[in-house]
């Protein structure tokens, strides 16, 4: 399933300054029972967002109308734990196109890149600056510029560059995914397969 192209996203951001946010928090296992990819955004951070009786937990950031936007900013080691791609789907389906953190778990990062959510890894110092800027002014806009590989706090103009390999960058800019690439080289793969002993 190809996804929307990603170029420059300028938006306010939702801060979640908690470390080690695992994918069980992003979407609990009991909401993984669908056989289609739809509606996962409703259960994003389900148990942090809702009480057991399905009423909202007022103090959780997603329930605070002051904060919104296409960018989610999380603490260190974001997306650890289970490999469930549903976590990335939930982030995307809720409306985020970009997750910013100072450190990402491997599988979550890969899953995001495969579905069109851009993981932006920044220095711990820059992450702190983003949290402070949003804390001071929740309307602070953040610009994530994929062609330039920069992230900028618009109010202060402070900026940092981020890494992404050129293959994945091209994919994101054009809305291509790995399956598009792999199906094009299928005959090369089939030839390789004949060399495998088991």
């Amino acid at each position: 399933m190809a996804y929307d192209k990603f170029n420059i996203v300028t938006s306010t951001a939702v801060p979640l300054p908690i470390e080690n946010v695992d994918t069980d928090q992003i979407i609990p296992a009991r909401f993984l029972k669908a056989t289609e990819r739809k509606g996962f955004g409703d259960n994003l951070f389900r148990d942090w967002r809702y009480h057991n009786d399905n009423t909202q937990k007022e103090d959780f950031i997603l329930n605070n109308p002051t904060y919104s936007g296409k960018i989610l900013v999380g603490g260190k080691n974001f997306g650890s734990g289970s490999s469930r791609e549903h976590a990335a789907w939930a982030v995307y389906d809720y409306g985020f196109r970009c997750v910013v953190s100072s450190f990402f778990a491997d599988i979550f990062k890969g899953n995001c890149l495969n579905i069109g959510v851009l993981p932006v890894q920044v220095s711990p110092e820059f992450l702190e600056k983003i949290f402070e800027a949003i804390d001071t002014n929740p309307d602070t806009e953040i610009e994530v510029n994929l062609p330039q590989q920069t992230i900028t706090i618009k109010t202060s103009g402070e900026s940092e560059s981020f890494d992404i390999n050129s293959y994945k960058k091209e994919n994101m800019l054009n809305g291509y995914d790995d399956i598009d690439y792999l199906t094009k080289i299928k005959s090369e793969i089939q030839k390789f397969a004949t060399t495998r002993p088991f």
């Binding site: 695992d22 490999s83 791609e85 450190f103 050129s166 293959y167 399956i179 080289i185 495998r196 088991f198």
Partner: protein
Amino acid sequence: MSKTLFDKVWDSHVVRNIENGPDVFFIDRHFIHEVTSPVAFLGIKSRGNTVLYPDRTFATADHNTPTINQHLPVEDPLSANQLKALEENAAEWGISHWGLGHQKNGIVHVVGPENGITLPGATIVCGDSHTSTHGAFGAIAFGIGTSEVEMVLSTQCIMQPKPKKMRINVNGELGFGVTPKDVALYIISQLSTSGATGYFVEYAGDVFSNMTMEGRMTVCNLSIEMGARGGMIAPDEKTFEYIKGRPLTPKGEAWDTAMEYWQTLKTDEDAVFDKELTFNGADIEPMITYGTNPGMGIGITNHIPDASNVEGGVATYKKSLGYMDFNEGDAMIGKPVDYVFLGSCTNGRIEDFRAFASIIKGKKKAENITAWLVPGSHEVEELIKEEGILDIITQAGFTLREPGCSACLAMNADKIPAGKLAVSTSNRNFEGRQGPGSRTLLASPLVAAATAVTGVVTDPRTLLEEVIN
């Protein structure tokens, strides 16, 4: 050039290398289950693709299955729907399917090795992060997302940058009552849950050489909990003995040819790792976790550390202890427990049930404890009966359930109720992992057993001594 074990297996599976990009990486064996595969099959259809090598994929139902009355229809309609989707997708594409009720059904990471699907030198993936289990056999095995499940189904490849390499040595001998689970929890407590992110780990040293295959599977299983993509151990005589003659291992001449290759699967003496860590087996105690990630573990006789002595954010640490309803400085031993869970892809094998039985034999389940004992597969279940473990369990007032992932992730009805405290042999103590509001202490089958008969967190060494004396 000298190569590590990981290099040897990885490099032999690279179909194509993309400059400034990932490797096109060939997958020998692919496991699928009901939760992370349905959307991948939808993707195949919507793109007009096919399953390229159906005989390289193996389906089993485990995450969502009930662990009692498996002969009856599954009550939860959503779960039943996922099981049906797996069955139909497997049938449509000619994929082997060990569904609920099948004699070979069980947890994917238990039935794979049991049936000889897991082989040294192979590349193995599954839409499940504990796929790292299979690294115990000298395979490169790791968890993938659903987009990648679709890639493997339709092209037998995924696109991955080659991870960095880490070797973790544990030398010397393990103390009395210290199990492979404790070794893994100890390493994770030293590295934290992100200490090995970006790396693929090779475990080496006396402790792993002396470990059984079941123990090695437990250790490799937990590699992901320190952030590693996977972990592996060089195959040796124990490995070959374990796999020989299993239903899907090579036979006859094919076995001899494979053996020649497998004997070469070890790290060259002068090969270089990006990072190397060494621990002493004698320093490891029976472990228990006290927080909401697997890195928050301590020796069972220790007290919960003060926030000031812990690396990382104080706010996150306090949030975690707040969720657990614990305080800095609390002793773990003696904490009253409500539930004990023995099972999962981490500790649901026969050796784990033997360990559990060694403690509870001749004792009685504590009245305040609800215990769920869940074998990893029907094969494990059969061995439990054959070896007389079922009798020990029954006489002590426990019952045995049917195979599945069960309370490890609580997708089925096996949910620890909100606020209740569980000692679990599984792999994750995240908030709500075992049910909304549940509180989990990760530990070995020995600690679980000791706790199950006393009703409070108990050092198994105190009970083992009784057995020995």
